[in-house]
Symmetry: D2
Subunit: 380 residues, 4 copies
Amino acid sequence: MAKLNDSDKTSSGFWVTQEAPIEAANPVATPQAEAPDILRCAYMELVVTDLAASREFYVDVLGLYVTEEDEEAIYLRSTEEFIHHNLVLRKGPVAAVAAFSYRVRTPEDLDRAVAFYTELGCEVRRSEQGFVKGIGDSVRVVDPLGFPYEFFYQTDHVERLAWRYDLQKPGELVRLDHFNQVTPDVPRAVRHYQDLGFRVTEDIQDNEGTVYAAWLRRKPTVHDTAATGGDGPRMHHVAFATHEKHNILAICDKLGALRLSDHIERGPGRHGVSNAFYLYLRDPDGHRVEIYTQDYYTGDPDNPVVTWDVHDNQRRDWWGNPVVPSWYTDASLVLDLDGKPQPVVARTDSSEMAVTIGADGFSYTREGDETKGFKLGETL
Amino acid sequence: MAKLNDSDKTSSGFWVTQEAPIEAANPVATPQAEAPDILRCAYMELVVTDLAASREFYVDVLGLYVTEEDEEAIYLRSTEEFIHHNLVLRKGPVAAVAAFSYRVRTPEDLDRAVAFYTELGCEVRRSEQGFVKGIGDSVRVVDPLGFPYEFFYQTDHVERLAWRYDLQKPGELVRLDHFNQVTPDVPRAVRHYQDLGFRVTEDIQDNEGTVYAAWLRRKPTVHDTAATGGDGPRMHHVAFATHEKHNILAICDKLGALRLSDHIERGPGRHGVSNAFYLYLRDPDGHRVEIYTQDYYTGDPDNPVVTWDVHDNQRRDWWGNPVVPSWYTDASLVLDLDGKPQPVVARTDSSEMAVTIGADGFSYTREGDETKGFKLGETL
Amino acid sequence: MAKLNDSDKTSSGFWVTQEAPIEAANPVATPQAEAPDILRCAYMELVVTDLAASREFYVDVLGLYVTEEDEEAIYLRSTEEFIHHNLVLRKGPVAAVAAFSYRVRTPEDLDRAVAFYTELGCEVRRSEQGFVKGIGDSVRVVDPLGFPYEFFYQTDHVERLAWRYDLQKPGELVRLDHFNQVTPDVPRAVRHYQDLGFRVTEDIQDNEGTVYAAWLRRKPTVHDTAATGGDGPRMHHVAFATHEKHNILAICDKLGALRLSDHIERGPGRHGVSNAFYLYLRDPDGHRVEIYTQDYYTGDPDNPVVTWDVHDNQRRDWWGNPVVPSWYTDASLVLDLDGKPQPVVARTDSSEMAVTIGADGFSYTREGDETKGFKLGETL
Amino acid sequence: MAKLNDSDKTSSGFWVTQEAPIEAANPVATPQAEAPDILRCAYMELVVTDLAASREFYVDVLGLYVTEEDEEAIYLRSTEEFIHHNLVLRKGPVAAVAAFSYRVRTPEDLDRAVAFYTELGCEVRRSEQGFVKGIGDSVRVVDPLGFPYEFFYQTDHVERLAWRYDLQKPGELVRLDHFNQVTPDVPRAVRHYQDLGFRVTEDIQDNEGTVYAAWLRRKPTVHDTAATGGDGPRMHHVAFATHEKHNILAICDKLGALRLSDHIERGPGRHGVSNAFYLYLRDPDGHRVEIYTQDYYTGDPDNPVVTWDVHDNQRRDWWGNPVVPSWYTDASLVLDLDGKPQPVVARTDSSEMAVTIGADGFSYTREGDETKGFKLGETL
């Protein structure tokens, strides 16, 4: 907010400005090559250590639909999806993410992806048969931030089950909504992803200009991915959308009935950032899954960028409910193209958890009315 | 469905195919000029005969927010909007639509709009100050189908009230969702709007290849506008979105409490087409307003086109509840650029109402199980 | 309303008064014997002609829980029930109601029931083993209005599934709410059921004092049963409650997905009477089932009685949506204690359908603003 | 559970038994006099230190309806109420509860109340004009547990606003649901309130037979009041009901928008006990208010009593979310009949907080799978 004017502050306590070029101390080069035209986040490939346990969680509890499965992998989709899958669960020795996969507009965008990342000196592999079932010609790279990114256009079409209300559960997951990546240097990540064609919709900063997190979109929602400041590259979460808020509450109720409530890590609650209603779960391997509903349209080029003060106690939860420490500290490893875990580099900027809670941090409900304790009677 | 294969029929009773070139008997020419890049339907300018009565309906009952108003016009927006308005109510002698207004991606798209429509021989006017408050440089045309279309990029930004829950009502309208246009020749309209850059998402046909209606989108929802077969050019409805279904029910409850339930024309119900939950109201001038929630993402280039059989009794209402005749027959006049009502041309193709109800029509709940009466005990 | 004062009219358009003694032209005698202390409507025994088809409807579609079943009968309960069942489906030659069954406070209330109905000259049978599984000592009678009533206290306890969210469906039915009986002379019925201990909560009248329907309760909701004017004795419907309105919408959505939407007869909508949200279905034999949620507490002795004008178009549907004629005319036969259908006696008072629609009837949305057509554009 | 059989354990992890006589070490005597017949909890009289601040909270934020107000007191009611009020806010020097007021069935029950408490040696006062506006002949006592209890029958009737949807807010409070009292010796309290005619619906115990809390009802919901173990007599909370869960979420959203989120103490969440959806707020004086929806019918005499293990981490929150310590420790003072705060007596039995969290406590999600930390990643 150092750079933000009082006149840009809204009646809701955050700032809105137009997206501006990002300065990064150690920027990734901007390629001459044109970026591939990304449509949306399309699927995540997750390595899980116990395929049966993961199936129970994602299929029996969360109710994702199995498009195809074998002894090594399960291909899952959400209710309204017509491409082959939104999630691949693959059996492996170490719980991690094998790919953040984006769909591009045309087959030719794969050539653009190859050129773009080759110019950046990244490892690039292309497979005409695809790296997973149901997906054709694909490009996988380790991006400059260390994340395994995939791009594809060709995919098998499957039936969109949106009208199959006879199959629905109270906690129906209807769409893949977004990814969230942990990375040490948020401005560096944002700058690079802008080069890849992403637009910033919201971020969290402090008065000194430290950026703690930023949200980035291709499709006109608040995000297709986000950069969360922390030791990385790691995967913070993958998010599925429901239609209504009660669907999210129903997932909690069901976990309680199954005596699996310890899979609930944080929420349900209302986000400040994105204005969405949310819930965070942890799967049997500890991979974090968000359930999310009702953010807003962001598709206009001059869509206002929302900036939150890191000390605003309603930024992460609009109701001021505390963020559990694990939510800040835990995340999943990501793999290189040979399936080996990427080394994790420590964040050197201030951590959001440190500046908001504990001895050296503070949060406020009303700016200028700074209180250590979060809320009445709370003693975390 | 004459052209549709049984193998394309889904388990929900409709067909899915890829969008194909449309044949029209009397097509509008395809311009050489590039079409403007439309972002989304942005606002409608409605002429109303009693501004105070319309204000009561749209502001006091429906709860739209007043951005600005004077004795001649009221500028209204929905909760999540950041552009100046989504609806202009302008006092005038004849209830009608003065403009279907679309936002384009760049200022340069206005030049493209001028070239595109000039080549088509349409009347084209451009105003650097804009035709209404809050909107800058704009192009207005009477399009080849007789509709007053507007294109603009520049607009005043206003506060997005998405986080202002202190202002919200039980029936909160959060976004403008779409327009719907009545036109005699649906394939002719679809072909032209494809030239303008729209994509087809769903349509209603019969075995003989008659097309009764089609849905067209720019933003990745089911539609920004639709072509409904009937005497035209006329405006069928303008639609606003809520977050949840109970918000729509709350509007009905409030109309009952105000003893204004006769403003409810049809619904609430679940659409077959679009899978959205809906309600149709009539404003004090008889302009039709839809309240709508929860359709699906359509942004991929190969998004499957859904085709419904006109005789499928669940196409318009998934629950098989009857469509009231006025919904088929009534619509609002549209104006030319001088403010005079456009003449209405009769549809010559079969009418959807005639082929589905009454002596010569039929509808089925289960294909092959054709019954005249809509549903158990109904005697409409 | 002939007898109602303007000062009793509420801002919502109905009247409230204190419950008063009912005058009936041909009253049932008031017994000297004390009435049994009824707790609540507890279950209905329905005779169905195709047990498999009924099972599919009540278990597979509506999701009631099977407590027990054999080749002759299925015993079903709702989610929050702890007694053996709320519905018995029994195979038989003629679709009809075998029993409206009420639970009483103590075993001794069965003796009171015997004395009460014996004094009235009714046929009375008692079975220590009960007439159906899961229910012990019971009394069955043909009441003075011709309805087969049952009273019991002893019942097997089963697990209340309220916390078993893992079993729940989007349209979960959580409680049996009420019965509804069709009878020619409503004041005569009301007077008799007051003698049996019921309290009136709402009714529909006209200026001449004709009573078209009345709602009667033991538990503190709007009703355990209702008397609907028409040819009788017949059963109008049995009603189950959901927690929320979206649960009712989900039932409609599911029926659509199963291509069973012709089971929807009326609604969903908001009642004027009771203020509840509702839906009426017809089962495979045509028995009517209501799904109902969110009426109000009525347990105080001076609870205001709500009286609706029969011409108020919002009395049956607060949104003014039309009542389909079958809803007025169709109802299920009821059986005597030997299983033979009771003869049906025609109503001689005015019929609600005749006075509100058609050539001789009228309805208003705003009193004094009488319009024949129900609502804008409607031409029923 | 020492006394509970394994065969009584349900598939949801709690026990059900029939209500049994309670043993208390130091019981209150059972009067010979008949207890008054209580209908329901009717209103609470709260002393607040800043009437304007309290009005803002209860009227502007929570939306209760003002029946009447003057400089000393504000009389508030919920949407569906027809008696004069459900809450009195009275200006005073010390924030406290002046009365827990119950409505009785008949005027004669006031004589019974006088006799009942006189026999118990309690201070008893009767006022024919009532102690507050809108209420007639009333009896106030300091009950044997030190709580100021009131009984009344006569009250002014006001309009039930249930149909006035034009007045409703997204977080509409429709009914007063219950009180909750803090008292050192729970079995002693339960035994006494059973003498007063209350029935137990649920409780929390441990293996040693210590009772931590119990829920007691007159109307057929889970409670009209509850006894929570702790230093007392104090008032734990007063609870209002909404129709649906989203109404409760809307209250949180509104508090966020008003930057008053620090009024949220705990929740929203799903209770284990009662199965209701809940939220706890603190008013400007720190009085705790619960918002509550969707418990179950309890009106049968043999309604199963639900017993929860104090170590079951889902008993207080079905999703296993932690109870904030203030919720266990904070409560409001109660006044004697002269308006002086009652002295608070310390609980000597184990405290629920101590046995479930911290060094000497433990909680489990799955019995036999005892873990100190509540849930994945939590470090409270």
